[in-house]
Symmetry: C2
Subunit: 435 residues, 2 copies
């Protein structure tokens, strides 16, 4: 887990600000949930591996030494959302659209670019199974990334029923789909032959059929979305749910054609997404030359039902703040003005006797909207200048006995060395004009 | 622990925004630390009661079932700051001034207005023992409260060495000061006679001296700060450290005379502050008719030394976000514009065939800076209007086949009932003009 020093925090706040601003323009509202959930709320939602990675909190009071845990740290923002939708159903609008930017915790072994505390930026629309929801979510995510300065990125799009349709059409029973998808998910890493070998080794398919099966999920960037959809339709061999899913994908492509997402969408039958709660469309955002993704999501129409009893259709996208920050840092994508000095001007303290007057001057400059630091001690004036310079603060004020007597202030520009004595009321204007 | 629905989050973000803005104008920089600290970092810093209230996190991996805890949830923002200052000493400026707004967790029994997860807004200045630091911190806190609309509030000011000076001058040995202060801290609640009785019962003072001792710490709002300081000087009976502390208080009053804090400061010898790490000035912010405080703080010159070995002087103020929100809510202090509709306009969907065009219109209006919601389904248009109205959204657009054919859009103002058909390019202007 990491500390974020001031420059880090400014970069994080900048990215979060762009994200919140875009999501608000799409009509999403902010939600915040507690860091700590009841342990039962989380267990069993993320698969076996997920359960192991949940940080558990010891019981307190009389049971403090029992070693038992009743609470746990938030593992993602989706399960808490499902709980909130179930719990506050009556207060929330029918189509509850929320964004949420908060940390989550996973007891992963720390490794490069992975942290045990990290922020997720989630946007979800509850209550509708219309594909307009997918189109809007993808447009919003694309808008965020373009707003941050990303130009070349792909939104990989697939559908859970396309995956199961293709597997069933190939004669693999539903009970083995999970295992098959785990193997197919490695297409990027181990290539077609590697995946085929794993499928055979697991006994999921005969050696002679393996290559053909893998071929169904293969991608080729030269093919258009229309071509991929046409191919999928043929590969479904009349499988009804699979064909409906292909129709869904086609409609998402049509609905996004004229929006921000359109140019980025690439139908990719190999996309599987790990989490077990997805039921329909799934997506993942990839940037060239970056292993892994900047975000992903999909439709999960049955998760709220685990808390509420009745189903509430839902779809969402989660952006990974930490990866976005890493890529933006490596590619120097932050606005140059962002990492700024902590103040526009530093007020120096001439002597213990004039300290109160210096503080009053600081207050006057702040009232004019300037960010004003005050050197806390009546050190030698040269030492005070040096400190301001080391902090990147461009101006210092000097309010000695002479200046005070005349109602004036000396203002020194540390980057040019120029110094002017001006009436006290003009200090803010001088600094703003040259700042 | 609580969920914050959209209106709650907007109010919280408003207050945090005012706080961050003021602190930045005073030259403070943002810091963020992880929610989870090593358990040794926290234990022993908050007293026995504090240790009991720390949420402890179970070990993971092989030791998962040992019942042992190695991590804990952040209990305040001061101890993590001290750890950061010790850990990053070389990277931080000599006078590190940071603000931090993050949640902390305490395993308190939940009660009215107290939560197990709550936000603190801390501002601290490290590296100087000059009283300029106190003056600036108090001005910043006063500026925040005035910025939020608080007018009548008192900054109670005292000094740890004033407390110990008065007790020693009264013949109570240092070893019993802790116990005596616990009793004196109840002056507000149980009155002078109650405190005197407790001091006698504890054997700290003879019955005949008890009233005189309590008298030393008594406050009287009609007395000026100068009068209280004069009185304290006499009561010290030449106790040197106590007299130096009175000088410190006098200087803080002088330094703040012309700043934002000046009008609010009230020297209050009865203020004790619970936490054991304070070493000098202490303060607490009180609002009339509110039990408890909106914030407090003080100087703690020895805390960083617990992590670093060498001492780093430090002083800070913590504002309690939750109490500020409660009071602002009760007194209707939020700007009326704050709890706003989730969107300026809702784009309706006329039919499945026109959905893509409606989404394109939504994109055009967002590019003009409007916040745009989209009804996700081609429901009956009246039902869509009703939904927008229930969400407080003032305008809806209708893009039927007729309008689309003419390059026009119908815009309905739900609060007046007026409907205009305008060229598509003029929709944003119409909404902005009447919004």
């Amino acid at each position: 887990m990491r500390d974020f020093l001031p420059d880090d925090v400014r970069r994080r706040q900048y990215v979060i600000g762009v994200i919140a601003d875009v999501y608000q323009r799409y009509g999403f509202e902010p939600l915040e949930t507690p860091a700590v959930e009841n342990i039962e709320t989380l267990m069993g939602k993320y698969g076996e591996e997920g359960d192991r990675l949940i940080f558990r909190i010891l019981k307190r009071g009389e049971q403090a030494n029992s070693g038992a845990a009743d609470l746990a740290l938030r593992y993602d923002l989706t399960v808490p959302l499902a709980r909130v939708v179930a719990e506050y159903r009556a207060q929330l609008p029918k189509f509850f659209k929320r964004y949420q930017v908060q940390p989550v915790w996973r007891a992963d072994r720390p490794q490069k670019g992975r942290f045990r505390e990290f922020y997720q930026c989630d946007v979800d629309a509850m209550g509708s199974s219309s594909l307009v929801v997918e189109a809007e979510l993808l447009a919003a995510a694309a808008d965020v990334l373009e707003g941050l300065g990303f130009i070349a990125f792909a939104i990989r799009l697939n559908h859970r029923q396309v995956l199961s349709g293709l597997l069933e059409a190939s004669g693999i029973p539903a009970s083995q789909h999970g295992e098959a998808l785990v193997a197919l998910d490695k297409l990027d890493k181990v290539g077609r032959d590697g995946v085929a070998a794993e499928l055979v080794a697991k006994g999921l398919v005969d050696g002679s059929d393996a290559a053909a099966l893998v071929q169904l999920f293969g991608t080729d960037e030269r093919r258009t979305n229309g071509e991929v959809l046409g191919q999928l339709r043929g590969d479904m061999k009349g499988h009804e749910a699979g064909l409906r899913a292909v129709d869904d994908l086609e409609q998402i492509v049509r609905l996004t054609a004229a929006n921000r997402a359109g140019a980025h969408i690439r139908i990719d039958p190999s996309l599987a997404r790990g989490l077990s709660y997805y039921t329909g469309s799934i997506f993942e955002i990839a940037v060239p030359d970056l292993a892994g993704s900047l975000g992903g999501g999909g439709r999960y129409d049955e998760l709220v039902g685990m808390f509420l009893g009745s189903q509430v259709p839902a779809c969402g996208i989660s952006l990974g703040l930490e990866r976005i920050l890493v890529v933006m840092g490596e590619r120097a994508m932050f606005p140059p003005a962002l990492v700024t000095a902590s103040a526009d001007v530093m007020v120096t303290i001439w002597s213990a006797n004039t300290a109160a007057d210096a503080l009053q001057l600081a207050g006057e400059l702040r009232a004019e909207g300037l960010r004003v630091d005050v050197y806390p001690e009546p050190d030698k004036i040269g030492k005070q200048f040096k400190y301001a310079d080391s902090r990147g603060i461009r101006f210092v004020t000097i309010l000695g006995d002479d200046e005070a007597a005349r109602g004036a202030v000396a203002v020194k520009n540390l980057s040019t060395g120029e110094q002017h004595v001006v009436p006290r009321a003009d200090v803010a204007t001088l600094i703003r004009k040259n700042g």
